[in-house]
């Protein structure tokens, strides 16, 4: 192995005065060697993304700017190059792939032209030769019908295809280095697995180096040759993937790795169900679209939930696992009465609530409550935390004082200061807000909690705390839980039962242990195979 392709020396990036800290990146030194994938891992606010943008001088200057350090590439300090020289590097010797391929592509330009543009500005190729090269690139990233794709627009492609286009774009001029900023975070698990495999394959075939920014240790385990861990803008630890993943040195790395839910299914067996299950869903159907307009039905109809049946026993926790568009969230909305299903039954403690009016539903509101995904959208910014939690009980007849007392108690229960009741939601962090959301769900003492991706918006370390809290509360309050998630690791961590959904249909269900050890359906197998870092045991 030869010397480094790129070396970052003592890089410091200053944030503007109104930020909560002075530096996004502080005194970071890193080397990216030839022919390797270096993963930079960190939680939000670690400065990993800012650092990656600083390399190609793409920071939003003058607010965010490099104040110290050097970035050496081809024996030159990128930071001291002229604008023209940097432009020659961008897309030519160093290229970038971004997180959200939909917004990273110009919606009004055919994708073929968007790649062609790189060749046009960096080379003397003729239009015919460029066209030839673009088709080759599409072929290289295994996009179907490359000729037709030349004139396709971004919105005509799927998320995975768009990211392949971005990769093709990055490869266009055989760069020495590709910087990939969370390139698979916006994708579904199975698509992520394909894109990761493609990137690994391309890196090996072309001998390119890749700087891969991610928050996900599973992804690191999947593709990294070497790993650098960042926190609060500083480099915490650096080493080969083997070293960092199996024998982490820094406490922070150890904590982060410990926070990643393991893929080993929990073995705790629920007690034999004595009485009737708290929730039974039978043959549920919910269709979207086909809205009635003045001129008859308009648009296509989509079966969001098609003939799904499942049961949640008392005290049990069941995970509904699926990718986007699988209908798992619609299922949850039907159960809590936010949507009215067209057919099928939702039995809560033996009573069918599927077609009850909102008024008739009122008594059952006390049985089932929901914890939401987005900690920022799930709390009304204009109401005090105490009022938010007390809302349910006051509707069901508790006096305001009693409800507030109870709210303070609940805040203590979910690990917050009871005085938080007097404050407004914006004063809390994402993890704290999610705790408030859990307190709200518990306020009317439900028997069943529907948790819709409750940790997917949180950082790994916070994720772990919230999951543990949910698990503990479930045990002490003997609650049942239906846990909606896209993440098999999370499902394995908190649920005894798993239901797998795809395109509105139930694919497979069974105990977590069974499904993990002996999946029956091909899709379940594919899903399990797609979990990043599935072979990594920590």
């Amino acid at each position: 192995m030869s010397g480094p392709v790129l070396s970052i020396e003592n890089l410091t990036v200053a944030l503007p005065a109104w930020s909560d800290r002075p530096h996004a990146v502080e005194q970071v030194s890193l080397e990216i060697r030839a022919n390797e994938i270096l993963c930079v891992v960190g939680e939000s606010g670690s400065g990993k993304s800012v650092m990656s943008k600083a390399i190609l001088r793409l920071l939003p200057e003058p607010h965010v700017r490099v104040t110290e350090g050097r970035i050496l590439f081809d024996q030159q300090d990128i930071l001291s190059l002229s604008e023209d020289q940097v432009r020659a590097l961008r897309g030519g010797r160093i290229s970038m792939i971004f997180q959200e391929p939909m917004t990273a592509l110009n919606p009004l330009m055919p994708v073929g032209r968007q790649i062609d543009e790189i060749l046009e500005v960096h080379s003397d190729m003729t239009p015919a030769a460029r066209r030839q090269r673009v088709v080759e690139l599409f072929d290289d990233v295994r996009l179907p019908e490359p000729e037709r794709l030349l004139t396709s627009y971004p919105h005509e492609l799927s998320g995975g295809q768009r990211q392949r286009v971005m990769i093709a774009m990055a490869l266009a001029l055989e760069p020495a280095l590709i910087i990939a900023d969370e390139p698979t975070t916006a994708l579904d698990v199975t698509t992520q697995a394909q894109i990761l495999a493609l990137m690994k394959d391309i890196q090996q075939r072309h001998g390119t180096s890749i700087l891969f920014i991610t928050h996900d240790f599973g992804v690191v385990a999947e593709i990294a040759d070497r790993v650098a861990v960042m926190r609060f803008g500083k480099l915490v630890e650096e080493g080969t993937a083997e070293e960092v993943l199996s024998r982490p040195q820094a406490d922070y790395t150890k904590d982060l790795i410990a926070a990643v839910p393991s893929l080993v299914p929990r073995d705790r067996e629920s007690e034999e169900a004595q009485d009737q299950p708290v929730l039974v869903v039978r043959n549920l159907v919910k269709t979207y679209g086909g809205r009635g307009g003045l001129f008859g039905k308009v648009g296509r109809t989509v079966k969001a939930v098609a003939d799904v049946s499942l049961a949640v026993e008392n005290g049990q926790s069941v995970a509904v696992v699926g990718e986007s568009g699988s209908g798992k969230s619609t299922l949850a909305r039907c159960i809590v009465g936010l949507e009215v299903p067209e057919a099928g039954d939702v039995m809560l403690k033996g009573e069918n609530i599927a077609r009850l009016s909102r008024r008739a539903l009122q008594p059952y509101r006390k049985v089932v409550q929901m914890v939401f995904q987005d900690p920022f959208a799930s709390l009304n910014p204009r109401r005090k935390v105490g009022d938010i939690i007390a809302l349910g009980p006051t509707i069901h007849g508790t006096s305001r004082e009693a409800a507030w007392d109870q709210a303070r108690e609940l805040l203590g229960l979910v690990g917050l200061d009871p005085r938080a009741a007097e404050r407004y939601p914006h004063e809390f962090s994402g993890g704290q807000r999610q705790r408030i959301g859990i307190a709200r769900a518990l306020a009317i003492k439900p028997q069943l909690i529907i948790a819709d991706e409750p940790v997917s918006a949180l950082d790994v370390s916070v994720q772990k705390q919230v999951l543990d809290l949910l698990d503990e509360l479930r045990r002490t309050l003997s609650l049942s839980m239906l846990f909606i998630t896209h993440d098999l690791r999370v499902a394995a961590h908190v649920c005894e039962q798993i239901v797998v959904m795809r395109n509105g249909e139930l694919v497979e269900q069974g105990s977590t242990a069974e499904i993990f050890s002996n999946p029956q359906h091909d899709y379940t197998k594919a899903l399990l195979d797609s979990v990043p870092g599935r072979d990594w045991r920590h």
């Binding site: 190609l56 110009n106 919606p107 543009e117 003045l294």
Partner: protein, 328 residues
């Protein structure tokens, strides 16, 4: 989009416009009912005091003694065949009168659209390119002042300075009738008369488009695809003209389509200031002669014009935005 698909799309939009036109007709009819005195009394008043018997006879002749739904039906039927009633003040059918006065208004609106969109887009573009420099501030301040200026006042001030003071442009009218110009001389004469009314009507819209263009340019420049373009090694100029400009133009086109109704309203004021012989001037005259038939005819025609322009903008959009092309 294939030719046939485009045709289907246009056809669908035309069909969607029909209820709107129907609504306008019903609205016209209702307002006609609300108007003080009916056609018969107005007519009788025109002829200078008539007997009750004569008024009764007139009512019968125009079907005003029929139940209201029948009257509405008759009204609808006459509009379908292009009959908007009779203007007694001008002693000719409203439709003929409107068609005669339509072209000067279209000329004024067309010239205004070109001037305000052209300069507005350019102004906004440059303000965005020079953002937070004195040149940007200059454009932005000029735009916000123009945005707050009443149209009629601008017209009068322009007359005060450029017609009365400097004697560069005529104060009123569309052409110098006594000169009997023909061919290109006539075109030039009309163009000479067109300058001040166009500037007057344009000023507000110019400011609107400049402000909008600046805002959308700045918004678009912060989006991810611009970072991608920068990471590809494009120059700022290439990024602006190849990527940002077209994206930023979309909202401006939308607003320009929406503003056509406003443009028509503005032309009433401007035409009355400059005695421009178009629909607006006609409306101004109709107001004072209480010629409600004519006034509602103008209202109906303006609404149809707006619907037609909206249709045109929708079709234009198909070519500008591929997302619509494939979405439908």
């Amino acid at each position: 989009m294939q030719g046939s698909a485009l045709l289907r799309y246009i056809l669908r939009r035309v069909l969607q416009a029909i209820p709107v036109i129907l609504g306008v007709v019903i609205l016209c009819f209702l307002m006609l009912q609300l108007a003080p005195g009916d056609l018969a009394t107005v007519l009788a008043g025109e002829s200078g005091g008539a007997s009750a018997g004569y008024i009764e006879e007139l009512r019968k002749r125009f079907g005003l003694d029929q139940p209201i739904t029948t009257q509405l039906w008759l009204y609808l039927k006459s509009i379908v065949v292009g009959d908007l009633g009779y203007s007694f003040r001008h002693a000719m059918p409203v439709t003929d009168l409107l068609l005669e006065r339509l072209w000067p208004t279209l000329l004024l609106m067309g010239a205004t659209l070109v001037l305000s969109l052209g300069l507005g887009v350019l102004g906004g573009l440059f303000a965005a390119l020079w953002v937070r420099t004195w040149r940007d501030h200059l454009i932005s301040i000029a735009a916000i002042i123009a945005y707050a200026t009443p149209l009629f006042w601008v017209g009068l001030m322009l007359i005060l300075v450029f017609s009365i003071g400097l004697d560069w442009f005529p104060t009123s009218g569309m052409e110098d009738v006594v000169q009997f110009y023909e061919g290109w001389d006539r075109v030039l004469d009309i163009a000479h008369h067109l300058v001040l009314p166009t500037i007057t009507l344009s000023l507000f819209y110019l400011a609107l488009y400049a402000r909008l263009m600046r805002a959308t340019m700045l918004e678009q420049r912060g989006l991810d695809y611009v970072t991608t373009a920068r990471a590809k090694g494009l120059t700022e100029r290439q990024i602006t003209f190849r990527h940002v400009l077209r994206n930023a133009l979309l909202p401006v086109v939308t607003v320009a389509g929406v503003q056509v109704g406003g443009l028509l309203g503005g032309s009433v004021v401007v035409e009355s200031v400059f005695a421009w012989p178009g629909l607006g001037q006609l409306a101004f005259e109709a107001l004072f002669s209480r010629d409600y038939n004519l006034l509602l005819g103008i209202f109906f025609l303006s609404a149809c014009l707006v619907v037609a322009v909206n249709l045109l903008v929708d079709v234009l959009y198909v070519f500008l935005d591929p997302r619509i092309r494939h979405g439908s």
